[in-house]
């Protein structure tokens, strides 16, 4: 059980494929327009429940509860060895700088 007032993330369908704008390309038209936002949970709930949250601006949004204390997982990714080759090449070209 996730307690009321927990900081959570919700996901919601804003427009179903049928409701999407006419100018949208075909591949995009096959999928819904979805929304993600974060807020404080207004009632106790479980992951996957339809819930209402209060966002930091005080707005109410509803959606499916997907994460508690949502983390930032972006990083520096996998190492790209090609960058070392660039370093070596340009440093050699300048022979130790001006």
């Amino acid at each position: 059980m996730i307690e009321k007032n927990s900081w959570v993330r919700i996901r919601k369908v804003i427009l179903t494929p049928e409701e999407r704008a006419p100018q949208v390309p075909d591949d995009t038209k096959k999928v819904p327009l979805e929304m993600w936002t974060k807020g404080f949970l207004l009632e106790d709930a479980k992951i996957g429940d339809e819930v209402t949250v209060e966002t930091v601006t005080g707005r109410r949004e509803t959606g499916k509860l997907i994460e508690v204390n949502p983390a930032y997982n972006h990083s520096f990714g996998n190492f790209i060895p090609e960058l070392l080759q660039i370093d070596k090449q340009v440093r050699q070209l300048l022979e130790g700088g001006e």
Partner: protein, 469 residues
């Protein structure tokens, strides 16, 4: 009162009404009833004077960023340039602004204006640095802030750079509403404006664009003070056109006559509203997917009349392959000891090539840098590209196919810009104008307006109209 309908068509139908309330500008005042509208009147009556903007920006620690000379990059350019060629390369270190990019200038004015008009909060639709800039200024002024981003594909996979920008907005106290791919972001944006009654801190209002004039003005003043003259060329990364428009207007206000060149990363062939193509892009802005359509038709933005009108102001427009920008970003780190984020490096890669056309005593300045970090660094950008099946190898970047490969130059001599045919874009703008306003016989005022819009003379406009009609 009947309840408002919130389906796509109904909300889009209320666009004009929602915009008028949330921007506080009656754009009809500047309209002629045909193609023409009074651009300078709009900038004058709804913007701020240069002195006022400087006061607003300096009071919140925005602006007055340093100019850095890149001596080692200049030396590298001279190694591969024809004898006697290779202008001195400089950057204006806009990453020093509070939110880490030049967008702080646009946001400072917009948020100041919102506060003055008595709005309780500001809303902005952007996946870029402007979100953090608005969040930062809203924090300073004690206003609430919502940033609406296009961030994920239908599998919930986000562009690392946009995910980082969301983190930064939240760190600065904003609510971030993230959406999957599609132009209906604007629909949600309108709904939020209606729901909250917040100010629309659009990137394209006169105050936002005029906010960049201080950047152009500072460049001129700083160069005159330090080097005794204006730079010869200013290179601007071009997407929505506001950066270039504001910078050139500032240079004009300083009386500077430098050439202004727009530069975009070449992402030709990738559809901007495509769910499949979304994560095959290794740049989220500064690319041709924005640069081309917004230059040839500026009034596709979130306000009725955009204050960003780049074709009026650009002397040349060039594109540069992705691989060259990544290569140059790495050079900036390894040769100049500077780690900077992606956007400004598009102009930097272009400047590296353009410098080789100019004599050694000329000066070329890249007018922005931005912050870098997790998600926004070339390391995660290239790693993400590999994860999405993009091949990365060394070769000739002119053979690069966006969405399929990123070709890092075998040698810095292969870093070359490609010229965009500006007359082609001008023709396209005139064609769009006739179509959008459904005009068969443009008035004299329309012709004069289109001449200003395209930075050509009336004879050129009349010639194009004759070809089209």
């Amino acid at each position: 009162m009947a309840e408002k309908k919130n389906d796509y068509a109904s909300v889009m139908g209320r666009k004009a009404e929602i915009m008028l309330k949330s921007v506080g500008i009656d754009y009809s005042k500047f309209e002629s009833g045909s193609i023409a509208f009074d651009y300078e009147k709009m900038m004058r009556e709804t913007g701020y004077s240069l002195t006022e903007m400087q006061e607003i920006q300096y009071s919140v620690n925005v602006g007055n960023t340093p100019i850095l000379e890149l001596k080692n990059l200049t030396a590298l350019a001279r190694k591969v340039a024809p004898k006697g060629k290779g202008a001195r390369i400089f950057i204006k270190d806009e990453a020093c602004n509070p939110s880490g990019s030049f967008k702080a200038r646009r946001a400072a004015n917009s948020v100041y204006h919102a506060k003055r008009l008595g709005f309780k909060g500001v809303l902005t639709a952007t996946s870029g640095n402007y979100g953090a800039a608005v969040a930062s200024q809203a924090a300073i002024h004690g206003l609430k802030c919502i940033v609406v981003q296009e961030c994920y594909d239908s599998h919930g996979v986000g562009q690392p750079e946009i995910v980082e920008k969301a983190r930064k907005c939240e760190a600065l106290g904003a609510e971030v509403v993230q959406l999957s791919v599609g132009p209906e972001l604007f629909y949600k944006f309108l709904l939020l404006l209606e729901e909250t009654g917040y100010f629309n801190a659009s990137l394209y209002t006169p105050f936002g664009i005029a906010g960049v004039e201080t950047l152009g003005y500072e460049i001129s003043m700083q160069f005159r003070e330090k080097y005794g003259k204006d730079p010869d060329v200013v290179v601007c990364t071009n997407a929505g056109g506001g950066n270039l428009t504001g910078t050139k207007r500032g240079l004009i206000k300083a009386g500077a006559k430098c050439q202004v060149i727009g530069a975009s990363v070449d992402l030709s062939g990738l559809h901007m509203a495509s769910d499949n193509a979304f994560n095959k892009k290794s740049f989220t802005t500064g690319h041709t997917g924005f640069g081309m359509p917004f230059s040839s038709w500026p009034d596709r933005s979130d306000v009725p009349r955009s204050a960003a009108r780049p074709l009026r102001y650009m002397d040349r427009y060039v594109t540069i392959p992705q691989g060259c920008v990544f290569y140059m970003t790495e050079c900036l780190a390894t040769l100049e000891g500077l780690e900077k984020g992606p956007a400004g490096n598009t102009a930097l890669a272009a400047a590296f090539s353009l410098a080789q056309e100019l004599p050694e005593d000329h000066m070329i300045v890249v007018q922005e840098t931005e912050y870098t970090g997790a998600g926004k660094h070339i390391q995660p950008q290239l790693s993400f590209a590999k994860d999405n099946g993009i091949k990365i190898f060394f070769g000739d970047p002119s053979e690069e196919v966006p969405g399929e490969n990123i070709i890092l130059p075998n040698n810095p001599a292969l870093i070359k810009t490609k010229e965009v045919d500006l007359d082609h874009m001008r023709r396209s703008l005139i064609k769009q104008a006739l179509e959008v306003y459904n005009v068969k016989e443009p008035t004299d005022l329309d012709v004069r307006f289109l001449a200003e819009e395209t930075n050509r003379d009336e004879a050129f406009v009349r010639e194009v109209i004759k070809e089209l009609v």
